[in-house]
Amino acid sequence: MACIIEVRDQELYIFKGKRNKGIMNVSKHFRIYLAQPLFDGDRVIYNDALVEQVREILNKNGVKDRYITLVLNDRIALTKDLIVPKTDKKKLDLIITNEMVALYNLSREFIVDYRVIKDSLSKTDTQIKVLASAVRRNTIAGLEMFFKELGMKIQSIDTAPSTYLKFIDNIELIESNEPTVVVDASSSYLRYYLYNNKEFMLMRTLYIDIEDEASQISTRAIHVLELLAQSQIGLTGKPIGQIKILGYHKRFTLMESLIEEKIGIVPSTPPILALVNKNDKDLYDFGNSMGVS
C-alpha cells in the first residue's frame, strides 16, 4: 500500500490507502502540522528540529515506508490547463514547456511536466487539453533531502490540482451535464474546478493566509466564484447549475451559507464517505491524496 504525502506550506497530509473496485481502503490518514513553514520562497527548510518533529509523529503512527509519493499543494508548484496541438510526445514536451515558460515567465531552473486531461475525440480534432505543472529544481532537491533525512525515497511528485481532477473522475462526482463547480475548501486554500458537459473547463485557486480576516476570505471566496460564473456564461451561455463542496469539513457550513446567500445556489456535499472504508469526515480533506491511489 503506497504512502502518499501531500505537502502544504505548513502541513503534511499522510495517507495510506488503495482503491479497489470503486472503494477506497484507507489504512492510515493523519495530518502533521509543522512547527514552521516548510518553504521559504522556493527553498525547502530542513533543520533538525523540523525533521525530528516529523520523524516522531511518523513513528508514533507506525509509518515506516521507504518509498513515498508526494503531492505538492502549495504556491511553489505552478499548475495550468493548456490547449495544445496534438503531436508526438517529444514535440509535446517542448510545446508545453515553452507555453509554461511564456505564461509564467519561467527560467531554465523550472522542471515542467504534464498530463493529458482530454485527448482529441476525433481524427479531425487536432488539439488536446493538458494540465501542466512547474516547480523549481532546487525545491525538488530540497524535498529530496528533507525526506532522505527521514529515511524515505521519493518515487514521484505530482501536484494537487492534477490528483484532485483524478479524484473527481474516480468517484464520478460530476453527474450532470450542466455547469458545475467543485470547491475544494481546505484549511489553507480554496480551489475551484469548473466543469461543463462533464468536462473540466478551468480551475482557480485562492490561498488563505493565517493572518487573513474571515470577512476578507469570505469576500474573496465569493468574488472568485462570481468570476467563474461570468466566465462560464461567456464560454457556454449557461449559468452555473451546481456547486459541490469538499475539503476541510469544518468549513462546509460557512461555505454553504455563504454561497447560498451570495450566489443563490444551494451547494451540496457529496457523500464520498460511502466510497471509503472509514467513516471519518477528515477524509473529505484527503481528496488530493486519494486521487493518486
Partner: protein
C-alpha cells in the same frame, strides 16, 4: 496518452542530462584543446617549412644567378692562384732557407761526389755556387759520364742533377762533359 505528472522523474532525467552534458562538455573542451595544440603545432611546422622553402628558393636563385656564377669562378681562379702562389712562397722559403744556411760546404758533398765518380772519370773542375755545384769532367770511356750521373742521382744529399750529355775530344781521345748539381737544403 500521458496519464500522470511526475516532476521527480523529470527532475532526475534533467540531472542525468546535465551530467551527460557536463561530460560531453569536458570531452568537447578536451577535443578542442587537443585540436588547438595540434593546429598550433601544425601551423608552426607549416610556417617553418614555408620559411625553409623560401630560404632554399632564395639560395637556389643565388646559386643560379649568372653574375654570382661569374663571381664564384673568379674567386675559384683567385683561390687557385693563391694556392700556386702559396706553393711558390713555400719553395721560396725553402730556397731562402738553403741560401741562408749555405755559407759553407759540407765535406759530405765532396765525399758523395767522390764515391759516385767512376775510377776512370776525372773531375777537371768544380764550381760551388750556393746550392749549385758545377762539375766539369773527362773520362776515357763513354759510359763513365752516364754512370757518374746515375750514381749522383742516387745520392741522398742531391736534390737534382742537370746533365746535358758529353763531347768527344778525338785528339785527346777523351770524353768531356759537365753537369750541375742542385744540393738539398742542409748540404
Amino acid at each position: 496518452m500521458k496519464q500522470n505528472i511526475n516532476l521527480y522523474k523529470k527532475y532526475q532525467a534533467d540531472l542525468k542530462k546535465d551530467k551527460t552534458v557536463s561530460a560531453q562538455t569536458t570531452y568537447l573542451v578536451l577535443l578542442i584543446s587537443v585540436s588547438l595544440i595540434i593546429g598550433v603545432y601544425g601551423l608552426r611546422v607549416a610556417i617553418e617549412t614555408s620559411i625553409l622553402k623560401g630560404e632554399i628558393k632564395a639560395t637556389q636563385l643565388y646559386l643560379q644567378n649568372e653574375d654570382n656564377k661569374r663571381r664564384y669562378d673568379a674567386v675559384k681562379k683567385t683561390e687557385n692562384e693563391n694556392q700556386l702562389l702559396g706553393s711558390f712562397q713555400t719553395s721560396l722559403k725553402e730556397i731562402n732557407n738553403v741560401f741562408s744556411e749555405k755559407d759553407s760546404i759540407s765535406g759530405k758533398v765532396l765525399s758523395e761526389i767522390e764515391s759516385a765518380r767512376p775510377s776512370t772519370l776525372v773531375i777537371a773542375d768544380m764550381i760551388l755556387d750556393g746550392p749549385n755545384a758545377i762539375i766539369k769532367f773527362e773520362s776515357d770511356t763513354a759510359k763513365d759520364p752516364s754512370n757518374f750521373v746515375r750514381n749522383l742521382k742516387g745520392s741522398d744529399i742531391i736534390q737534382s742533377v742537370e746533365y746535358k750529355g758529353y763531347d768527344y775530344d778525338a785528339t785527346e781521345n777523351k770524353y768531356l762533359g759537365s753537369l750541375t748539381l742542385i744540393l738539398k737544403g742542409n748540404f
